[in-house]
């Protein structure tokens, strides 16, 4: 039942996105009532995505019963945001597709084009000025976060790729040993001189 709850939430989010991005209806009109089945590798459950002309319906299924069946890992499915990648992923063996490829391409293209006018939507609640400021702040925060992530990624890459200087180089060790011997010898000489001086004083 938890699964059904999660699916219901995802369905609700998708339908909310559709309300905020009405051009989705035009993009999906051609595939109305056609079923896209997503079979995620290593998951026990398949899903069916259906556009009814008004809204999305997502269903779980244990049957193969759709107009197009896509079988892939979750990482590969996320790459499908770019419709041009579908053929490439099939060639690479990362994606199995049975049925109407156009259905998958239409969904991929439509969902990648979702563009919600956030300032417009927020202005209904906070007014124009506030919603503009909120949107700009979120955008700026997002940019900063992206920069920080890139920096972190680059640092991690360098750390992993470059050889760390943990051990001392052999030449440095030899020099250190020589210096150490010299210091010991100097100390012995000094001790001898001090002893001679002390005896002369006594």
């Amino acid at each position: 039942m938890l699964f059904q709850l999660i699916i219901a939430l995802i369905e609700s989010i998708l339908n909310q996105a559709m309300k905020l991005s009405p051009q989705l209806h035009d993009d999906l009109r051609a595939i109305k009532h056609k079923k896209l089945q997503l079979s995620i590798k290593n998951w026990q459950q398949d899903f069916i995505l259906l556009y009814t002309g008004e809204k999305f319906i997502i269903l779980t299924t244990d049957e193969k019963q759709a107009d197009c069946i896509i079988c892939a890992s979750i990482e590969t499915l996320l790459e499908l945001k770019d419709p041009a990648k579908i053929t490439k992923l099939i060639r690479e063996g990362k994606l199995d597709l049975e049925g109407d490829i156009q259905l998958a391409q239409t969904y991929s293209s439509a969902l990648s084009k979702v563009d919600i006018d956030w300032p417009e939507q927020l202005s209904h609640f906070f007014g124009d000025g506030m919603s503009h400021r909120v949107t700009q702040s979120v955008k700026s925060l997002h940019t900063q976060q992206q920069k920080l992530l890139e920096k972190l990624k680059s640092t991690t890459q360098h750390t992993l790729q470059d050889e760390l200087k943990i051990a001392m180089h052999p030449i440095e060790l030899t020099i250190f040993k020589n210096d150490n011997r010299q210091l010991t010898s100097d100390l012995e000489l000094l001790e001898h001189r001090i002893n001679v001086l002390m005896q002369s004083v006594n």
Binding site: M1, Q4, L5, I7, A8, K32, H33, K34, K35, I48, L50, T52, G53, E54, K55, I57, L59, T60, T61, D62, E63, Q65
Partner: protein, 252 residues
């Protein structure tokens, strides 16, 4: 097999009543609760009935153009979803023996804008008024336990189902965990009638609900009853620990 006794008596909750009496008594229960049926469903199940119904739709294999009979369809939760999926080339028939429930269902669906591919029929599940082999899918959600002669109803459903079609029975059943059974019993007999009393001013109907659930055949018995009338590949899925079970059977 769950069967009526020889002298034409049957159960109404824990009471034994005449078969003819049961029809009227069940009708009375649903006339009484029809107006607040949806609110009560949400309150009693804490909204989980929506997930049980989602699972039923998911198991139905419904697609564009299908003809579907939603028996004991009440306020039309399943019909609403089916009508969206089956589209204008399909048809959904919302059938219920109780005219109060049908009226509430029709009003609700029309308010939602669900028109065009839905028909409303007042009917008795034991004698379905349709030709043989008429439907791709038949569902009966939380209705079978109120039917007087369940075997006759299942046989009638089998008759009107198309070859290759499937029947889905969503119904309260027997929890498969002892602790859950105790909690569930306490809830059903102590809390449920109180909620009914507060919301609908009718605790008796909800006392009947709790009793009728206990008198309903368990998972295996119902599966056997479906097989007895001819359903094949029958199976059931326990939902929420067996409080509810979804039975599925095919006609070939």
């Amino acid at each position: 097999m769950m069967k009526q006794t020889q002298d034409n008596t049957t159960h109404f909750g824990y009471k034994t009543v005449n078969e003819q009496e049961k029809v009227g008594m069940v009708a009375e229960v649903f006339h009484s609760v029809a107006a607040k049926y949806d609110i009560m469903n949400d309150l009693m199940s804490m909204g989980i009935h929506r997930l049980w119904k989602r699972q039923t739709i998911a198991s139905s294999g419904v697609r564009k153009g299908h003809t579907i009979l939603d028996l004991a369809g009440g306020t039309g939760d399943l019909t609403s979803k089916f009508s969206q999926i089956t589209g204008e080339t399909g048809q959904v028939i919302l059938g219920d023996i109780n005219d109060s429930m049908l009226k509430v269902g029709r009003e609700k669906l029309r308010d939602q804008g669900r028109v065009g591919n839905i028909e409303y029929v007042q009917l008795n599940a034991e004698a379905l008024p349709f030709p043989d082999n008429s439907f791709d899918i038949i569902t009966i959600a939380f209705g079978l336990r109120n039917v007087t002669d369940k075997d006759k109803a299942l046989a009638s459903m089998f008759r009107v189902l198309k070859p290759g079609g499937r029947l889905l029975v969503l119904e309260f059943s027997k929890p498969n965990n002892e602790l859950l059974t105790k909690v569930y019993d306490f809830y059903s007999f102590n809390i449920l009638p109180k909620i009914g009393s507060i919301v609908t001013n009718d605790s008796e109907s909800y006392q009947y609900l709790a009793e009728s659930i206990r008198m309903h055949p368990n998972q295996e018995t119902l599966k056997g009853m479906m097989e007895q009338v001819g359903f094949e590949q029958t199976s059931y899925q326990n939902l929420t620990g067996g409080i509810v079970a979804l039975h599925r059977g095919f006609k070939y």
